[in-house]
Amino acid sequence: MKDGRKELRIGLVLTGIVLALTILSIFYTPYHYNQMDKAARFLAPSLRHLFGTDSYGRDIFSRTIYGGRYTLLVAVSTVASCTVIASVLGLISGYVGGIVDEIIMRIIDAISSFPDLLIALIVVTVLNLGQLTIVAALCITFVPSFTRIVRTATLQYKSAEFVKNLRVFGVSDLRILLVHIFPNTFPLLLSTIVIGLSNAILAEAAMSYLGLGIQPPIPSWGRMLQEAQTIVYTAPWAAICPGAMIVVTIAGLNWIGEGLRKLYL
């Protein structure tokens, strides 16, 4: 019972740091994220450049905190759109049952037999690279697991006493579904959403690393890692800074997710 609070606290602190830096970058960055300076190439971390500079003399700290917002934006929009789609599918599938349930679940099964990365790669190949493509690509990879969770919760409440009573009172199916069952899926969905966010950030970073996510000149953590790879011997900070940001964000979200699961389930 008491378990979970500690994880939640650690997670909130870590995620809080990342969020604070990201919000800070909206108002202030020490340098412009794309400002190049030939005289300041490969500078080691110092007071003038907190995390040093890269091969173009760009300030790593500014790029890292600036790049966070796109990664986070992609992750949030992915999880939000995925939650909406999965809620609709899961509620219908669980509540209607029968052939509809069968069709939806078999499609979900078929999609989830592909590894996540491959689905994302298919979507990116098929649609042209655009800022929205990465959201669509990641969204499809997460729909199966989200749908299953909503469906399970719906099934559980469909046969509950209070739902039977509501039906006796003549409440319409749509109202039962939206007003009475859907809110009950939230506790289950909550930890899934948090873990989904961390997975989305990881996936976005991987796609950007491969050059298939957020496109330059906008900096993103994955892209920065890819650029830092070739200069890692001369400027290891160029890789460590964005990499550490990813690790802190993911660990923070995972801890929150674990804490929530222990608290609510």
């Binding site: 298919i122 649609l127 890819q226 990813i246």
Partner: protein
Amino acid sequence: MKYFLRKTLVLVLTIFSISLLTFFAFHIIPGDPASLILGTNATEEQVAALQEQLGTNRPLSEQYISWITGFVRGDFGSSIRYRMPVSELLKGRLPVTLSLGLIALVMILAAGIPLGILAARWRGKPGEKILNILTMLGISVPNFFLCILIMWIFGLILHLFTPGDYVSYTRSLPRFLQSLFWPALSIAIPQTAILVKYIRTAMLEELGEDYVRTARGKGAGETWILYGHVLKNAIVAVVPLIGMILASVLSGSIIIEQVYGIPGMGKLLIGAVTSRDFPLTQTLVIYITVIIVVTNFLVDIVIQVIDPRIRLSGRS
């Protein structure tokens, strides 16, 4: 036997739906492969001729049937980018990726199982906290970042290996395996952390079971309970994970091959995606997915043999 037949049927249906989904994913899109191959300054006649040759002007269902029969016979079509048969490009790639995946899998199991047991034994001790933090770090590190760190620390600072130094298995098998060691390690570490977490949870759950109480009541020592009873059941709970781990290992190798410049299927795939080479992407996607689905099928069969409860209770 009935279980086996049902599983086989599911396997066949899954592979069928994989082929169907992949095919239609690549054919519902606007934009026509013929004009893609020929570029923007091709005449309409040229495009029409190539459409005829590729068969893209026929109805979708017909295209699917001719594509799938070709696929079964080993004819995967031609790559748009390399202008050569896909089967030619695939040659020699599969063993590379599979070896990389297999080495990573062995590492994961060899490190994950003992560490998981240790984590369960350390419950409530100070070592548990450290291990918990380490597993959380392991889960949170993207494999490509880990890869860069490994390259930097072990390759460039300690000079244990030369990054980008790849030896083909046709030249020297031991040196081939050696060159895959560090890439495999980058894939293995995050997955090991996940496995440790699962084994720990599974063992702690088993420790709360009635049979453990009975064994304690009969005077069995803690060591015997842990290794004689609990471990066996915990392993059974973990075997289904192997399929999932393999999927992550193969996804991981797609990225890691890119980092280390290993000429496997992953590197080919990323190249195909960036150049929008539909036939090549399509074939690789199906290849990798089928490997995973078949492994999952084999894992299911193995579990059923070692744990008859699954067959008897009919759950899958």
